[in-house]
């Protein structure tokens, strides 16, 4: 399989890859799987009922990774994919998902990825999903991911969801169910600009005793863009949850942040924090006093904030 320069650029942006990855992978381009590789411990199968793949990680698999980047390089593409992940008991793996769009035309380019993830007993998953858009076309770049994650007893997942520039419209839906001693740490990093719109709807159900979640969003809204966050943590057992939404607002952007915590158990401990504000003047002054120009100081502050 030969990757074009555009393909390579997108792979670099969404998966930090310079070429075809090592280990298990599936590369999907313009609505079709173009390259796939399973390994001894990670099997990738094409779904028979829907477009998409099943990724099956054998129990006990340690320190392996699977890359499943999606490339959309043609205008007018409307790609819908269903991926299912089975992370076997006591496995410890990293999944690098992500989608990049290169739209040079006047039509919409869209990818809707629906991921269902099962983290079995005692397994650990690090899940990284990056979204990226580019292209000189006038058509919109649209990405609508939906992730449903079930974390069984003693399982743990870290989810890093990143979208920095280039995506015109996104509606992200994340649903998580955590059972006994399960934990989920989720961080969403987002930068919108122009007329972009990003909405994120997160619901974490703490169903098992001593389950734990931390849901964090760090976002920057620039120019005329709009962001809406609706993270919810619902505790139905003795459990702990923390929600933090932190946004920097600039120019004429709009940010709406509505964290919600709900407890249906007397021993649940839930907290939330939300803050929206401009870049602190003192931060700018400090960096400028170290020699940075105003523009460089803004970039450095945003870079750190979204790191």
């Amino acid at each position: 399989m030969k990757l074009s320069a555009v393909d390579k650029k997108i792979l670099q942006e969404v998966a930090s890859l310079h070429d075809v990855p090592q280990g298990a992978y599936n590369i999907r381009k313009d609505g079709e799987g173009i390259s796939r590789k399973s390994t001894e411990n990670i099997e990738i199968q094409v779904k028979k009922d829907n477009p998409g793949i099943d990724i099956i990680v054998k129990p006990g698999t340690k320190n392996e990774s699977v890359h499943i980047p999606v490339l959309v390089t043609r205008t007018g593409i409307n790609d819908l994919v269903y991926n299912t992940f089975e992370i076997g008991e006591e496995a410890d793996v990293t999944v690098v998902a992500g989608c990049g769009i290169h739209n040079t035309g006047s039509e919409e380019a869209r990818h809707d990825g629906i991921h269902t993830i099962y983290v079995r007993k005692g397994a650990r998953l690090r899940y990284v999903e990056k979204h990226y858009g580019e292209g000189e076309g006038t058509g919109s770049n649209i990405l609508n991911p939906k992730t449903i994650i079930e974390i069984e007893e003693g399982g743990m997942a870290e989810m890093e969801l990143v979208q920095i520039r280039g995506v015109d419209h996104t509606v992200r839906v994340t649903e998580a169910n955590l059972y006994k001693n399960a934990s989920l740490i989720m961080i969403e990093r987002l930068l919108t600009h122009g007329d972009q719109v990003a909405k994120s709807d997160v619901i974490v159900n703490l169903l098992g005793e001593d389950s734990f979640t931390q849901v964090t969003s760090r976002t920057v809204a620039q120019e005329n863009s709009e962001q809406v966050f609706y993270p919810r943590v619902i505790a139905k057992a003795k459990s702990r949850g923390y929600v933090e939404c932190d946004s920097i607002i600039m120019d004429k952007a709009r940010v709406r942040s509505v964290p919600e915590i709900a407890a249906y158990h007397a021993e649940a401990e839930l907290t939330h924090e939300a803050a929206i504000g401009k870049i602190a003047g003192e931060q700018m002054l400090k960096l400028m006093s170290l020699g940075l120009s105003e523009k460089e100081a803004v970039e450095k502050i945003l870079e750190g904030f979204l790191r």
Partner: protein
């Protein structure tokens, strides 16, 4: 080396002058303290020098060049540094990021040295976010470390003792003094501490936005006791007009 001529400063949109016609010269290689009562104009004066505030009138020159209209970063590049009284915290920027920005040195082992000098263990701090998880005293030491990395010819440390425990402060003071002496820098400490006033070559006493006097400790100390005490009465009680009564 750095000279203020007729510098006044009003908060934009307000009539009240915070700094009132200040004429002041800092000479190359000297160690200064700026002192005076709270609200007297010490930090405002420092911020005018750094370019954080712009004078309403008057001029500031540095090594013979008029810097009155230069931006903060331009003054920084010319060799002026300012350690903030309350250093800002940054979500996501690490201590190492600040030190690398200040020193323009990427090498980890070099920037580690700046933390060691201010009594912080690099292994514990370099990769930490410079955010609210750090105490005021820790931030203050990191702030001074950034100035050590930046190494400006003219540096103002704004109340370097604030929030720092006594033991650590001795260390910081020694670091600042040694650097001053070794490299022939011009150093200004804003402070109320008598022991700092004893260390310096000259004390600048500023009261009510005006320079009350400039001189050695022997000359300035009695004035501090009399005038500043009197000022306190005037400001806080508002009922003492007579200086003799004030001193009682």
């Amino acid at each position: 080396m750095l000279e203020l001529k007729g510098v006044t400063y009003k908060i934009p949109g307000e009539d009240k002058e915070i700094i009132k016609g200040v004429d002041l010269t800092f000479e190359q290689g000297k160690f200064y303290a700026i002192t005076g009562p709270n609200g007297g104009g010490k930090t405002s004066l420092a911020k005018l020098i750094m370019g954080i505030y712009k004078p309403s009138s008057g001029s500031i020159t540095f090594k013979g060049e008029d810097i009155t209209n230069l931006e903060i970063n331009e003054r920084s590049k010319k060799g002026i540094g300012y350690a903030f009284q309350y250093p800002p915290r940054f979500k996501g920027l690490r201590v190492i990021d600040l030190l690398q920005l200040a020193s323009e040195i990427e090498e980890r082992k070099v920037v580690r040295g700046y933390l060691r000098q201010v009594g912080l263990c690099p292994e514990d701090y370099l990769d930490r976010d410079a955010d609210a998880s750090l105490s005021g005293g820790e931030m203050k030491r990191i702030e001074i470390a950034t100035l050590l990395g930046k190494n400006p010819e003219f540096t103002i440390y704004d109340e370097p003792d604030a929030g720092v425990d006594l033991w650590s402060f001795d260390l910081l003071l020694n670091v600042i003094k040694q650097k001053h002496e070794k490299e022939g820098l011009t150093t200004v400490l804003i402070s109320h501490q008598e022991r700092i006033l004893e260390l310096v070559d000259e004390i600048v006493l500023i009261v009510g936005g005006k320079i009350q006097d400039v001189g050695t400790k022997e000359r300035i100390w009695p004035i501090i006791k009399d005038v500043v005490g009197c000022q306190w009465y005037k400001v806080c009680r508002g009922d003492v007009e007579d200086e003799a009564e004030c001193r009682r």
